[in-house]
C-alpha cells in the first residue's frame, strides 16, 4: 500500500539525495528534513515507525561494528525507511525464516557432533546400542570403565559442566520467593508459600560453556562412526 503523500516524486527525490554509503552531506540532510516534516504531518504510520526508530536509535551500535543481520527493521539505514514498506516486510519475514532454519540446522548438527565425539572418545553409542541383559556385572563394569574414561575426557575437553547448586547433597536449604525457578525443581510436599525449607537431593548440572569442533564442509554429521574395513 502506498502512502497518500509519499508519491513517486517524493520517493525519487529522497532516493536521489541518498548517497550509497557514509555520512550525509548538509544539502542531503536539509532536503531530507523537509521530506520527513511533511510525511510526519500527513502519514500516521510513518510517524509511528519513525518515533520507534528514534527510540531504538540510542541502543544502536555504530554502523560498521554490527553486521546487517543484527539490526531490526526500524533501525535499518535511512533509505529503507522511506522506501515502500510492503516488499521490505516480505523480504524481512523470509530472511527471519531462513535464519531460524539455519539455527535449527546448526543445533541439530551440533547435537550430532556431540554424539560423534562421545562415540569417538568413549564408544558411547556402541555401549548404549548393545543389549546388556545377558552379561555379568563384571563384564559390564569393565566396558563401563572404558566408556566412562573416554566420555569424561570428551566432555571435559569441550564443555564446562558445573553443579546448579553449590551445596552438598543432603544439606538443608531455605529458598526465598525469588529462587531461580529454571534451575530448581521442587519435589515431595509441594505446596504452600515461600520461604521453602527442604533438603538438597541432587545438585543439578549446568553447562556453562560448550565448544564443539568445526564441522568440515561437505561432511555428513549423521555419520557418528564410520564403518571400518581392514585391508
Amino acid at each position: 500500500m502506498t502512502y497518500p503523500f509519499a508519491g513517486p516524486k517524493l520517493r525519487a527525490v529522497t532516493e536521489s539525495t541518498h548517497s550509497s554509503a557514509g555520512p550525509l552531506s548538509f544539502l542531503e540532510r536539509f532536503l531530507f528534513a523537509w521530506q520527513c516534516l511533511f510525511r510526519i504531518w500527513f502519514d500516521g504510520e510513518f510517524a509511528l515507525r519513525l518515533k520507534g526508530a528514534a527510540r531504538g536509535f540510542e541502543a544502536l551500535p555504530s554502523p560498521d561494528a554490527s553486521s546487517p543481520s543484527d539490526r531490526d527493521e526500524p533501525v535499518e539505514s535511512d533509505d529503507t525507511a522511506v522506501e515502500s514498506q510492503e516488499p521490505s516486510k516480505e523480504a524481512e519475514s523470509v530472511r527471519q525464516e531462513a535464519e531460524a532454519q539455519r539455527a535449527r540446522e546448526a543445533a541439530r548438527v551440533g547435537a550430532l557432533q556431540l554424539l560423534g565425539l562421545l562415540q569417538r572418545e568413549g564408544r558411547f553409542v556402541d555401549f548404549v546400542q548393545q543389549e546388556i541383559a545377558k552379561f555379568s556385572d563384571a563384564e559390564i563394569g569393565a566396558a563401563a570403565r572404558v566408556v566412562h574414561a573416554g566420555c569424561r575426557k570428551a566432555l571435559l575437553n569441550h564443555a564446562r559442566v558445573e553443579p546448579a547448586r553449590p551445596e552438598n547433597e543432603g544439606a538443608r536449604l531455605t529458598l526465598d520467593a525469588d529462587f531461580d525457578r529454571g534451575r530448581l525443581k521442587l519435589t515431595g510436599n509441594v505446596g504452600g508459600k515461600p520461604p521453602y525449607q527442604g533438603t538438597l537431593r541432587h545438585r543439578g548440572w549446568i553447562v556453562s560453556d560448550l565448544a564443539l569442533p568445526i564441522l568440515v564442509e561437505g561432511y555428513d554429521a549423521r555419520v557418528v562412526a564410520a564403518a571400518e574395513v581392514e585391508l
Partner: protein, 575 residues
C-alpha cells in the same frame, strides 16, 4: 602490507609441536599460547594448544581433508596421530629424531620407513617443513590474512644436543616454510626462560648468583640435560649455558611400550594373544594407567581394558590389571634406578647388520645417563669466576624439570634422590627444585619470551656454541696398504664461541685439493673447553671427540689443474 608485530616461539617437538606469541608493540605484553586449528577426526576441525607432530598422507578412500583455509592431500595433527594407529603405513612420525640421525642422508626421502606402495616418501626436513607450514597457514588464517608468520620474529627451538648439521636442517625447513627471521634457541634454555617469565621479578627468591641450574627435559622421545650457571657481572645478573648432554633417544614412549609388553606377556600366559591394533590400544591404556600409578597417593592397581574393535563393546573386551608394584619395578627401577656416580651407560654390542632405524639408546637407565653427564662435564665451570674448584662432578644447586614424563611425582622423587645422593657424597648441599613449571608448553612460551629478550628486555642466557668444532686434516704419510692415513683435528671454532662472531685461524701450512671430489670430515667435542682456534690435536683422548656428518664436495679448479694442491687460510664464523 604485513608488518612485524609479534615475536613467535615454536617448539617443534618429537611428538608435539606448540606455538606461543608475545606482542612486540606493548613492552610488557605477556606470552600467550596459540591454539592451532587442526583436523582432529574425519570432518572435525578444532583448535588445540598442542599440534601432534604426525603427518598423514591421504588415500583416495578418504574424504577431503579440509581445513578452514585450504584442503590438502595430507593432514597434520591429531587426526594424523589417530590414523597412525589405524593405517601405520601412511603416517610420518618422529621426524625430528631422524633429523638428528647422522647416519642417514637427512635430505633424502625416507619417511614413512615402512610406507604403503602409493606414497611418495618425504625427507625428515620436508616433514618438519610441513609442520611449520601448517602453523604458518593457521597463523595467517587467525589474522584474517593480514599478517604472515614469515614476517614475524620467529624463535625455533632445537634440543641442546642437536649438532650443527641438525640445526642447519631445521633452519632449512624454516626457510622453506617462508620464515625469514628465524633464530634457533636450545630447548632447556627455553624452559628456563619460560620459568623466568612466569615468575617475573620473584625469580630472584629462587635463583642467586653462583647457582647452577640443571635442566632435565624428558619428553616423549628424547632426554636432554643442560646446565646453566648464574653469574654476577658488574652488578647485573648473567646466565651462562655451560654444559650440554648428548642427544639420548629415550623417553616416555619407551616406557609405554615396555609396560605394554609386560601386560602382553601377562595376557599371553593367561592364553590371550593380541593383534597389532589391540597392542596400540593397550599402549594407550597403559599410558593412562601409568600416570595414575605414578602420581601422588597411587592406588594399588588400575584395571586395563582393551575394548573390542567391533560395535559389540561387551563380551569381547579383554580385561586385566596393572599393579603398582609392576609399574614401580618396570618404570622406576628400569629407567630410574639408584646408581653410583661412576656408573656409565652400557653400550650393547651392536649386531653386524641392522635395519635402517633410529639409534635408540641401548641403556634405558636415565639416571646412568645423568651420572655420565655430570661426571663428564665436571670441568664446565672452570672458566667462570667465583665458582668452587672442579670436583669429580658438576654440582648443580637447583633443578628445573621439563617434559611430559617428569609430571609424575614418583619419577621426580627418584631423580632427586639420585642427585642428592651424589651431591651429598661430594659434600654439596641438597638440590632445590624450581617450582611451578608448565611441562608441555614451557619451551614454546620460553621461545616467544626469548624473542622479546633479544630486543633488550629481560635476562638473556649466554651460550655460544655447545661444542668445540674441529676439521679433519690428513697428514702427509707414505701410502701403507690397508692403513688409512692418520687424521689430525684442527680446532676451527672453540667451545662457547658467540653467535655472530668470526675467528681467523693462525697460519698453518694447509691446502685443499681442487677439481676432485673430496670429503671434509668434522668432529665435535662437548668437553674440550681449553682448545682455541688453531689448536691441532694429533691424538684425541678416546671419547672426547665424536665425528659429525662429513661434507663431500668438489671445489672448482678455476685456472688451476685438477688435483692440484692449493694453500689456503681458514676462517670460521658462527651464524
Amino acid at each position: 602490507m604485513s608488518e612485524q608485530r609479534f615475536t613467535i616461539g615454536i617448539d617443534l617437538g618429537t611428538t608435539h609441536t606448540a606455538m606461543a606469541s608475545a606482542s612486540l608493540e606493548t613492552p610488557d605484553a605477556k606470552v600467550s599460547v596459540f591454539d592451532v586449528p587442526q583436523l582432529v577426526a574425519a570432518g572435525s576441525v578444532e583448535a588445540r594448544s598442542l599440534l601432534p607432530s604426525f603427518l598423514y598422507f591421504a588415500h583416495e578412500s578418504d574424504a577431503p581433508l579440509a581445513l578452514p583455509w585450504a584442503t590438502h592431500d595430507y593432514a597434520v595433527g591429531e587426526f594424523a596421530r589417530a590414523r597412525a594407529a589405524e593405517a601405520p603405513g601412511r603416517v610420518v612420525s618422529s621426524a625430528k629424531s631422524w633429523l638428528s640421525h647422522a647416519g642417514v642422508d637427512r635430505r633424502s626421502p625416507l619417511l614413512p620407513v615402512t610406507a604403503a606402495a602409493d606414497i611418495e616418501k618425504i625427507s625428515p626436513v620436508e616433514a618438519s617443513f610441513r609442520y611449520l607450514d601448517h602453523l604458518g597457514e593457521a597463523f595467517r588464517s587467525a589474522h584474517q590474512g593480514q599478517l604472515s608468520l614469515g614476517e614475524q620474529e620467529v624463535v625455533l627451538t632445537v634440543p641442546a644436543s642437536f649438532d650443527a648439521a641438525a640445526r642447519d636442517l631445521t633452519v632449512e625447513a624454516a626457510y622453506a616454510a617462508g620464515l625469514e627471521n628465524v633464530t634457533l634457541l636450545e630447548e632447556p634454555q627455553a624452559a628456563l626462560y619460560a620459568w623466568i617469565e612466569a615468575h617475573g621479578e620473584a625469580f630472584r627468591t629462587h635463583l642467586k648468583p653462583l647457582d647452577v641450574v640443571l635442566v632435565i627435559d624428558i619428553g616423549g622421545g628424547t632426554t636432554d640435560f643442560s646446565a646453566i650457571a648464574l653469574l654476577e657481572n658488574q652488578g647485573s645478573l648473567e646466565l651462562h649455558r655451560v654444559a650440554v648432554g648428548d642427544h639420548i633417544l629415550l623417553g616416555g614412549d619407551n616406557m609405554d611400550l615396555l609396560l605394554a609388553a609386560v601386560v602382553r606377556n601377562k595376557l599371553r600366559d593367561a592364553g590371550t594373544e593380541l593383534d597389532a591394533w589391540q597392542m596400540t590400544s593397550l599402549s594407550q591404556a597403559c599410558r593412562a594407567a601409568k600416570e595414575q600409578l605414578l602420581a601422588e597417593n597411587p592406588p594399588e592397581s588400575v584395571p586395563i581394558v582393551i575394548p573390542s574393535r567391533g560395535s559389540q563393546l561387551l563380551g569381547q573386551s579383554i580385561r586385566t590389571e596393572l599393579l603398582r608394584q609392576e609399574v614401580e619395578r618396570v618404570i622406576l627401577d628400569g629407567f630410574f634406578p639408584g646408581v653410583e656416580l661412576a656408573a656409565k651407560p652400557t653400550q650393547r654390542q651392536r649386531a653386524g647388520l641392522a635395519q635402517l632405524g633410529l639409534p635408540y639408546a641401548s641403556d634405558p637407565a636415565i639416571t646412568k645417563h645423568l651420572a655420565h653427564f655430570l661426571t663428564r662435564q665436571a670441568g664446565a665451570l672452570a672458566n667462570l669466576p667465583g665458582f668452587p674448584a672442579a670436583s669429580e662432578l658438576l654440582r648443580p644447586t637447583s633443578v628445573l624439570f621439563n617434559g611430559g614424563v617428569v609430571k609424575s611425582q614418583a619419577i621426580r622423587g627418584r631423580l632427586l634422590a639420585c642427585l642428592n645422593q651424589w651431591l651429598e657424597a661430594s659434600g654439596a648441599p641438597p638440590i632445590r627444585v624450581l617450582p611451578g613449571e608448565d611441562p608441555d608448553l614451557a619451551v614454546a612460551r620460553g621461545a616467544a619470551y626469548y624473542g622479546k629478550v633479544r630486543r633488550g628486555r629481560g635476562l638473556r642466557i649466554r651460550g655460544g656454541t655447545a661444542r668445540a668444532y674441529y676439521v679433519g686434516i690428513e697428514s702427509p704419510m707414505p701410502a701403507i696398504p690397508g692403513l688409512e692415513p692418520p687424521i689430525s683435528a684442527l680446532c676451527v671454532a672453540p667451545f662457547g664461541m658467540e653467535e655472530g662472531s668470526q675467528t681467523e685461524l693462525p697460519k698453518h701450512e694447509l691446502g685443499v685439493i681442487v677439481g676432485e671430489p673430496v670429503e671434509f670430515r668434522f668432529f665435535g667435542s662437548s668437553v674440550r673447553r681449553g682448545d682455541s682456534a688453531g689448536t691441532l690435536l694429533e691424538h684425541g683422548k678416546s671419547g672426547e671427540l665424536e665425528e659429525l656428518s662429513p661434507i663431500g664436495m668438489t671445489l672448482v679448479a678455476e685456472g688451476r689443474q685438477k688435483g692440484e694442491f692449493v694453500p689456503v687460510h681458514l676462517r670460521a664464523s658462527v651464524t
